[in-house]
Protein backbone atom coordinates (compact mmCIF):
# COMPACT_ATOMS: atom_id res chain seq x y z
CA UNK A 1 0.00 0.00 0.00
CA UNK A 2 2.69 2.47 1.04
CA UNK A 3 4.69 2.37 -2.17
CA UNK A 4 1.71 2.50 -4.52
CA UNK A 5 -0.69 4.76 -2.62
CA UNK A 6 1.03 6.83 0.08
CA UNK A 7 4.26 7.95 -1.58
CA UNK A 8 2.49 9.36 -4.68
CA UNK A 9 0.77 11.79 -2.28
CA UNK A 10 4.06 13.44 -1.28
CA UNK A 11 3.24 16.53 -3.38
CA UNK A 12 -0.19 16.93 -1.80
CA UNK A 13 1.13 16.44 1.75
CA UNK A 14 3.95 18.90 1.09
CA UNK A 15 1.48 21.52 -0.22
CA UNK A 16 -0.75 21.05 2.80
CA UNK A 17 2.22 21.22 5.20
CA UNK A 18 3.48 24.35 3.49
CA UNK A 19 0.16 26.13 3.88
CA UNK A 20 -0.23 24.99 7.49
CA UNK A 21 3.24 26.06 8.57
CA UNK A 22 3.80 28.95 6.15
CA UNK A 23 7.49 28.03 6.32
CA UNK A 24 9.44 25.77 3.94
CA UNK A 25 11.87 24.36 6.52
CA UNK A 26 9.06 23.61 8.93
CA UNK A 27 7.03 22.07 6.09
CA UNK A 28 9.91 19.76 5.07
CA UNK A 29 10.25 18.47 8.62
CA UNK A 30 6.50 18.04 8.91
CA UNK A 31 6.31 16.02 5.68
CA UNK A 32 9.01 13.68 6.91
CA UNK A 33 7.36 13.27 10.31
CA UNK A 34 4.02 12.60 8.59
CA UNK A 35 5.36 9.79 6.43
CA UNK A 36 7.38 8.22 9.24
CA UNK A 37 4.33 8.24 11.47
CA UNK A 38 2.16 6.85 8.68
CA UNK A 39 4.68 4.06 8.08
CA UNK A 40 4.82 3.22 11.81
CA UNK A 41 1.01 3.11 11.94
CA UNK A 42 0.34 1.62 8.52
CA UNK A 43 -1.78 -1.18 9.98
CA UNK A 44 -4.24 1.48 11.20
CA UNK A 45 -4.98 2.65 7.68
CA UNK A 46 -8.45 1.56 6.58
CA UNK A 47 -8.31 0.05 3.08
CA UNK A 48 -10.87 1.61 0.77
CA UNK A 49 -10.59 5.07 2.30
CA UNK A 50 -8.60 7.75 0.55
CA UNK A 51 -4.98 7.56 1.67
CA UNK A 52 -4.51 11.28 1.04
CA UNK A 53 -7.15 12.08 3.61
CA UNK A 54 -5.44 9.78 6.16
CA UNK A 55 -2.05 11.43 5.52
CA UNK A 56 -3.56 14.90 5.92
CA UNK A 57 -4.99 13.84 9.29
CA UNK A 58 -1.57 12.68 10.48
CA UNK A 59 0.09 15.80 9.09
CA UNK A 60 -2.32 18.12 10.82
CA UNK A 61 -2.11 16.28 14.15
CA UNK A 62 1.68 16.48 14.04
CA UNK A 63 1.47 20.16 13.24
CA UNK A 64 -0.91 20.89 16.11
CA UNK A 65 1.28 18.94 18.51
CA UNK A 66 4.21 21.20 17.66
CA UNK A 67 2.35 24.42 17.25
CA UNK A 68 0.12 25.01 20.24
CA UNK A 69 1.09 28.62 20.58
CA UNK A 70 0.12 29.73 17.10
CA UNK A 71 -3.17 27.87 17.48
CA UNK A 72 -4.03 30.15 20.37
CA UNK A 73 -3.07 33.08 18.21
CA UNK A 74 -5.37 31.81 15.46
CA UNK A 75 -8.18 31.44 17.97
CA UNK A 76 -7.88 35.15 18.69
CA UNK A 77 -7.91 35.97 14.98
CA UNK A 78 -10.95 33.78 14.51
CA UNK A 79 -12.74 35.57 17.30
CA UNK A 80 -11.98 38.80 15.50
CA UNK A 81 -13.13 37.36 12.18
CA UNK A 82 -16.41 36.26 13.74
CA UNK A 83 -17.01 39.85 14.76
CA UNK A 84 -16.00 41.29 11.43
CA UNK A 85 -18.61 43.98 10.81
CA UNK A 86 -18.28 43.43 7.08
CA UNK A 87 -19.59 39.88 7.68
CA UNK A 88 -23.19 39.55 6.66
CA UNK A 89 -23.43 43.01 5.17
CA UNK A 90 -20.97 42.06 2.41
CA UNK A 91 -22.23 38.52 1.99
CA UNK A 92 -22.51 37.62 -1.70
CA UNK A 93 -21.81 41.20 -2.62
CA UNK A 94 -18.61 40.53 -4.54
CA UNK A 95 -20.53 38.94 -7.39
CA UNK A 96 -23.12 41.71 -7.32
CA UNK A 97 -20.45 44.40 -7.08
CA UNK A 98 -18.51 43.02 -10.05
CA UNK A 99 -21.46 41.86 -12.16
CA UNK A 100 -21.79 45.07 -14.16
CA UNK A 101 -18.10 45.14 -15.14
CA UNK A 102 -17.03 41.48 -15.21
CA UNK A 103 -19.99 39.10 -14.84
CA UNK A 104 -17.90 36.08 -15.84
CA UNK A 105 -15.28 36.77 -13.17
CA UNK A 106 -12.40 36.82 -15.63
CA UNK A 107 -10.50 39.12 -13.28
CA UNK A 108 -9.91 36.20 -10.88
CA UNK A 109 -7.57 34.68 -13.46
CA UNK A 110 -5.56 37.89 -13.68
CA UNK A 111 -4.72 38.04 -9.97
CA UNK A 112 -1.16 36.80 -9.49
CA UNK A 113 -0.62 33.50 -7.69
CA UNK A 114 1.52 35.15 -5.03
CA UNK A 115 -1.33 37.42 -3.95
CA UNK A 116 -3.83 34.57 -3.81
CA UNK A 117 -1.42 32.48 -1.75
CA UNK A 118 -0.77 35.42 0.53
CA UNK A 119 -4.48 35.80 1.23
CA UNK A 120 -4.96 32.07 1.73
CA UNK A 121 -2.11 32.05 4.22
CA UNK A 122 -3.56 35.08 5.99
CA UNK A 123 -6.80 33.20 6.74
CA UNK A 124 -7.32 31.94 10.27
CA UNK A 125 -6.09 28.35 10.25
CA UNK A 126 -9.56 26.78 10.63
CA UNK A 127 -10.78 28.49 7.47
CA UNK A 128 -7.50 27.99 5.63
CA UNK A 129 -7.50 24.24 6.24
CA UNK A 130 -11.09 23.84 5.05
CA UNK A 131 -10.54 25.86 1.86
CA UNK A 132 -7.31 24.06 0.98
CA UNK A 133 -8.72 20.60 1.58
CA UNK A 134 -11.82 21.34 -0.49
CA UNK A 135 -10.81 23.73 -3.25
CA UNK A 136 -7.23 22.58 -3.79
CA UNK A 137 -7.19 18.94 -2.71
CA UNK A 138 -10.80 18.09 -3.66
CA UNK A 139 -11.68 16.23 -0.48
CA UNK A 140 -15.37 15.68 0.30
CA UNK A 141 -17.07 17.36 3.27
CA UNK A 142 -16.95 14.06 5.15
CA UNK A 143 -13.25 13.54 4.42
CA UNK A 144 -12.49 17.08 5.57
CA UNK A 145 -14.56 16.52 8.71
CA UNK A 146 -12.45 13.43 9.43
CA UNK A 147 -9.17 15.28 8.90
CA UNK A 148 -10.21 18.23 11.06
CA UNK A 149 -12.10 16.10 13.58
CA UNK A 150 -15.21 18.31 13.43
CA UNK A 151 -18.82 17.72 12.28
CA UNK A 152 -19.70 18.14 8.59
CA UNK A 153 -21.78 21.22 9.45
CA UNK A 154 -18.67 22.90 10.85
CA UNK A 155 -16.80 22.11 7.63
CA UNK A 156 -19.53 23.80 5.60
CA UNK A 157 -19.50 26.84 7.84
CA UNK A 158 -15.69 27.17 7.71
CA UNK A 159 -15.68 26.77 3.94
CA UNK A 160 -18.36 29.40 3.58
CA UNK A 161 -16.54 31.90 5.77
CA UNK A 162 -13.08 31.18 4.38
CA UNK A 163 -14.20 31.55 0.77
CA UNK A 164 -16.10 34.71 1.58
CA UNK A 165 -13.06 36.35 3.19
CA UNK A 166 -10.92 35.37 0.20
CA UNK A 167 -13.45 36.68 -2.33
CA UNK A 168 -13.66 40.00 -0.53
CA UNK A 169 -9.94 40.46 0.02
CA UNK A 170 -9.04 39.49 -3.54
CA UNK A 171 -11.79 41.60 -5.07
CA UNK A 172 -10.64 44.64 -3.06
CA UNK A 173 -7.08 43.96 -4.21
CA UNK A 174 -8.20 43.61 -7.86
CA UNK A 175 -10.00 46.96 -7.68
CA UNK A 176 -7.05 48.68 -5.97
CA UNK A 177 -4.64 47.32 -8.60
CA UNK A 178 -6.89 48.20 -11.52
CA UNK A 179 -7.34 44.53 -12.48
CA UNK A 180 -11.05 45.24 -12.49
CA UNK A 181 -12.47 48.74 -12.88
CA UNK A 182 -13.63 50.41 -9.69
CA UNK A 183 -17.39 50.52 -9.11
CA UNK A 184 -18.86 53.66 -10.62
CA UNK A 185 -20.89 54.70 -7.60
CA UNK A 186 -21.73 52.06 -4.99
CA UNK A 187 -24.47 54.27 -3.59
CA UNK A 188 -26.16 54.52 -6.95
CA UNK A 189 -25.92 50.75 -7.46
CA UNK A 190 -27.49 50.12 -4.08
CA UNK A 191 -30.30 52.56 -4.82
CA UNK A 192 -30.96 50.81 -8.13
CA UNK A 193 -31.09 47.38 -6.45
CA UNK A 194 -33.39 48.66 -3.74
CA UNK A 195 -35.69 50.11 -6.35
CA UNK A 196 -35.72 46.98 -8.52
Amino acid sequence: MFQEEALPELDAVYRFALRLTRDTDHARDLVQETFLRAWANREKYTPGTRVKSWLFTICRNQFLRRDGRSRRHDALIREFADQDPRGTSREATVFMAAADRDPEGTFWARIVDEKILQEIEALPSEFREAVLLSDVESLTYQEIANVLDVPVGTVKSRLFRGRRILREQLYDYAVAEGIIAAPRDPGADQAREDGA
Partner: protein, 101 residues
Protein backbone atom coordinates in the same frame (compact mmCIF):
# COMPACT_ATOMS: atom_id res chain seq x y z
CA UNK B 1 -39.72 55.57 -16.71
CA UNK B 2 -41.71 54.96 -19.89
CA UNK B 3 -44.23 52.15 -20.10
CA UNK B 4 -42.18 50.03 -22.55
CA UNK B 5 -39.31 49.93 -20.14
CA UNK B 6 -41.63 49.07 -17.28
CA UNK B 7 -43.22 46.26 -19.30
CA UNK B 8 -39.80 44.88 -20.19
CA UNK B 9 -38.87 44.86 -16.52
CA UNK B 10 -42.06 43.05 -15.58
CA UNK B 11 -41.60 40.44 -18.29
CA UNK B 12 -38.03 39.84 -17.28
CA UNK B 13 -39.01 39.47 -13.65
CA UNK B 14 -41.84 37.06 -14.51
CA UNK B 15 -39.48 34.95 -16.62
CA UNK B 16 -36.96 34.80 -13.79
CA UNK B 17 -39.56 33.62 -11.32
CA UNK B 18 -40.67 30.69 -13.48
CA UNK B 19 -39.10 27.46 -12.33
CA UNK B 20 -36.60 26.06 -14.84
CA UNK B 21 -36.66 22.24 -14.97
CA UNK B 22 -39.04 22.19 -11.99
CA UNK B 23 -36.57 23.99 -9.72
CA UNK B 24 -37.05 27.57 -8.62
CA UNK B 25 -34.14 29.98 -8.39
CA UNK B 26 -34.68 30.08 -4.63
CA UNK B 27 -34.24 26.31 -4.32
CA UNK B 28 -31.25 26.30 -6.67
CA UNK B 29 -29.52 29.09 -4.77
CA UNK B 30 -30.06 27.20 -1.51
CA UNK B 31 -28.09 24.28 -2.93
CA UNK B 32 -25.62 25.94 -5.25
CA UNK B 33 -22.63 25.60 -2.93
CA UNK B 34 -23.19 21.89 -2.34
CA UNK B 35 -23.78 21.44 -6.07
CA UNK B 36 -20.48 23.15 -6.91
CA UNK B 37 -18.75 21.08 -4.22
CA UNK B 38 -20.16 17.85 -5.70
CA UNK B 39 -21.93 17.02 -2.44
CA UNK B 40 -25.45 16.34 -3.74
CA UNK B 41 -26.68 12.85 -4.53
CA UNK B 42 -26.93 11.93 -8.20
CA UNK B 43 -30.63 12.75 -8.61
CA UNK B 44 -30.37 16.06 -6.76
CA UNK B 45 -27.22 16.96 -8.65
CA UNK B 46 -28.98 16.39 -11.98
CA UNK B 47 -32.08 18.29 -10.90
CA UNK B 48 -30.28 21.34 -9.49
CA UNK B 49 -27.69 21.28 -12.27
CA UNK B 50 -30.31 21.30 -14.98
CA UNK B 51 -31.60 24.55 -13.52
CA UNK B 52 -28.30 26.24 -12.74
CA UNK B 53 -26.78 25.54 -16.14
CA UNK B 54 -29.61 27.20 -18.06
CA UNK B 55 -31.09 29.81 -15.75
CA UNK B 56 -30.30 33.32 -16.95
CA UNK B 57 -30.28 34.62 -13.40
CA UNK B 58 -28.37 31.80 -11.67
CA UNK B 59 -25.82 30.80 -14.29
CA UNK B 60 -23.70 33.99 -14.19
CA UNK B 61 -23.20 33.57 -10.44
CA UNK B 62 -22.20 29.93 -10.97
CA UNK B 63 -19.70 30.89 -13.64
CA UNK B 64 -18.33 33.65 -11.44
CA UNK B 65 -17.84 31.28 -8.51
CA UNK B 66 -16.19 28.65 -10.71
CA UNK B 67 -13.68 31.24 -11.94
CA UNK B 68 -12.91 32.19 -8.35
CA UNK B 69 -12.32 28.58 -7.29
CA UNK B 70 -10.24 27.86 -10.36
CA UNK B 71 -7.96 30.74 -9.36
CA UNK B 72 -7.56 29.26 -5.87
CA UNK B 73 -6.73 25.84 -7.26
CA UNK B 74 -4.30 27.26 -9.79
CA UNK B 75 -2.42 29.26 -7.17
CA UNK B 76 -2.35 26.86 -4.27
CA UNK B 77 -2.21 23.59 -6.16
CA UNK B 78 1.03 23.99 -8.06
CA UNK B 79 3.65 23.37 -5.39
CA UNK B 80 5.37 20.04 -5.65
CA UNK B 81 7.52 18.36 -3.06
CA UNK B 82 11.20 19.24 -3.62
CA UNK B 83 13.30 16.29 -4.76
CA UNK B 84 15.59 16.70 -1.74
CA UNK B 85 12.63 16.25 0.63
CA UNK B 86 11.38 13.27 -1.35
CA UNK B 87 14.79 11.59 -1.12
CA UNK B 88 15.08 12.39 2.57
CA UNK B 89 11.65 10.89 3.30
CA UNK B 90 12.35 7.70 1.34
CA UNK B 91 15.77 7.34 3.00
CA UNK B 92 14.26 7.79 6.48
CA UNK B 93 11.57 5.22 5.63
CA UNK B 94 14.15 2.73 4.42
CA UNK B 95 16.00 3.06 7.70
CA UNK B 96 12.77 1.90 9.35
CA UNK B 97 12.27 -1.12 7.15
CA UNK B 98 10.38 0.33 4.19
CA UNK B 99 11.14 -1.53 0.95
CA UNK B 100 12.98 -4.34 2.68
CA UNK B 101 10.33 -6.78 1.64
Amino acid sequence: MNWIEELRRRLLRARREQPAHGVTCHEAVEKVVEWLDGELDAEEERRIGSHLEVCARCYPAVRFERAFRKALERSAGVDSCPESVRERVVQALKERGFGSG
